[in-house]
């Protein structure tokens, strides 16, 4: 197995979101490319859909070598059993040493079931993936070039490194926005492999009675500037100030979990371990104390400005600029001086 492992590649599950390849899938192909180059192996991807998505070249331009496409008009909407069967089937066939999924609602439904059917390990919500050697002293065995899967655990209070030394494939899910999207090279070519779906009617169990698509989610991932409010904002009314500053600076509005729990703003604005992971150029934290769960979702921001009345708030540990003061006074001053300079 060891011998074979060294040449087996990396497989990325491509998720289709409204006839388009989900951003997280391209981020994973970018990361898989880096890992594959380190291992000297190839990157494959599996795409299951009804064939309405047209951007088949994108996976190649981000580093995919082989794209396995399974098209079936009955695969318009994600359904656990047919998608699981097709994915597990391909994994058994091409025997990748690593398989990556986006930690989206669908990825988190699919990946565990696939891992269970393959009797292999799965690490959820990884924030980093590395290729390293692992020495098992008890067994006196050296595992060369295995996948170190790094993730927060225990509500974000610890960072754990997880390995699956004796099982293949090594599987992980990764949240959107955690891995950097590589630079697309439209000239890069790969091999498209069409696979028959071979599904029968009995493979489908769910009847879709109704399907409501909400308005486009606020895409905090792409924002260069995020102005976020926390419990310290104090109320829905005061939260208007956060919106105003974001609008003035051309940024988007984020929030801590406490602000969402208090009903100041919708959950789709939530930044942090249970919300969105962001890395804007500028992050302005208003009335956010900055517990580890929140920091885990924004500490990669280019510049962090923290406004808080409590000088001991943990957010000041990671802020580049700390303003100890009342945001009700500070924010209007910021708006005023920005407008004056513009």
């Amino acid at each position: 197995m060891d011998n074979k492992m060294s040449t087996n590649g990396i497989l990325v599950y491509i998720e289709i979101d409204h006839d388009q390849i989900a951003t997280v899938s391209l981020e994973l192909i970018s990361k898989a490319r880096d890992l594959a180059d380190e291992l000297g192996v190839e990157v494959s991807a599996i795409m299951i859909s009804d064939g309405e998505n047209k951007d088949n070249a994108a996976p190649f331009s981000y580093g995919c070598d082989h794209l396995y496409r399974i098209t079936d008009t009955r695969l318009k909407f994600y359904e656990t059993l047919p998608y699981t069967n097709l994915t597990a089937q391909l994994i058994r066939r091409i025997e990748p040493q690593i398989v990556l999924f986006g930690a989206t609602p669908i990825g988190r439904d699919l990946a565990p079931r696939v891992a269970s059917s393959l009797k292999t390990g799965l690490t959820a919500d990884c924030t980093d993936l590395q290729i390293q050697d692992h020495e098992d002293r008890a067994k006196k065995k050296l595992y060369k070039n295995i996948l170190f899967q790094i993730r927060p655990a225990f509500g974000g209070n610890i960072i754990a490194t997880i390995i699956s030394p004796d099982h293949r494939p090594q599987m992980a899910t990764v949240r959107e926005g955690v891995m950097k999207l590589g630079r697309a090279n439209p000239k890069r070519k790969g091999q498209l492999i069409e696979l028959p779906s071979e599904l029968s009617e009995s493979d489908f169990h769910n009847q879709f009675i109704d399907r409501l698509v909400g308005r486009r989610r606020i895409n905090l991932n792409g924002a260069d500037i995020i102005v976020a409010g926390g419990a310290g904002v104090g109320g829905k009314k005061q939260f208007k100030l956060v919106h105003e500053l974001a609008e003035t600076l051309g940024g988007m509005v984020g929030a801590s979990r406490a602000a969402v729990d208090n009903g100041y703003i919708d959950a789709e604005h939530q930044v942090g371990q249970t919300g969105t992971t962001v890395r804007p150029k500028l992050y302005i934290a208003c009335g956010i104390s900055g517990c580890v769960q929140h920091q885990a979702g924004m500490d990669q921001s280019g510049k962090i400005i923290a406004i808080n009345t409590d000088p001991d708030a943990p957010i000041f540990n990671i802020a580049h600029y700390g303003i100890v003061g009342d945001l009700n006074q500070v924010i209007p001053m910021m708006i005023k001086s920005y407008k004056a300079k513009e």
Partner: protein, 296 residues
Amino acid sequence: MSINLIVLVKQVPDTKNITAKAMKDDGTVNRAALPAIFNPEDLNALELALDIKDRYNGNVTVITMGPPRAANILRETLFRGADRCILVTDRAFAGADTLATSYTLAQAIKKIGNYDLILCGRQAIDGDTAQIGPQVAEKIGVNQITYVHKIHEIRNDRVLLSRNLGRIMEKIETGLPLLITVPASANQPRSYGAKLMMRFKRARTRLEVEAENDKDNLPAIAAACESLANRGLLIETWSAADLDADPVDIGLRGSPTKVKKVQSVVFAATETRKVDPTETGIRQLMAELIEERTFG
């Protein structure tokens, strides 16, 4: 029609309120120093099951895998209206990852045998993996639907439900048996029923009976257990042997994933520049940021 419901629950350390005291010097978490609570979303799964029980004359069996003290959350399910509780406990289960845990729970479900709907919380707050539901479904070979926030109707082995995929809401009709996972948004878990609490406060596992008696006095223990069982107050305890579990599939041995290393989260302290909350201070800061083209 009577619907057989199984709810999978977990006792977890309260990770929301971790203090410095709960961290060991080597950076690992001292679980013993944290209060053990009912995993919040498992309460939502239980509530949904109890709601179905109320509507359709069902019966609710609750299973937990954990150390003996996990019996506490089983009693809580009895106080809320569960009909039967099973504590799956054995030293051989220690160190289980999600694959080994789901195998063990699946063995317990197979032993119960008769089920229409299995419910789990979306995820547990200690690991946040959301893997147990789908993996148990795979192990027992039933369909799964995750993030179910409403059961509209159950009729003739068919169920009509709604699930929440974030931006997308789906209304799906599918067949039973089925496993669903339930998010916090599904409902508001009920509190204890006063009568149920009076009735079940003396419910015990055999291990608890042993602890409350002289552990060498086997006849006394047997008599106490029998008396509890006769009154419906004995919480069943199943071991690895009871589950006919393959030793290679449980505990540390049955777990493909290993924890290589843990470290407590210490964010690298950044050098923070203090800015005065005055007109002058803010004006200077904004001027600098504009100068550096931070705003684009």
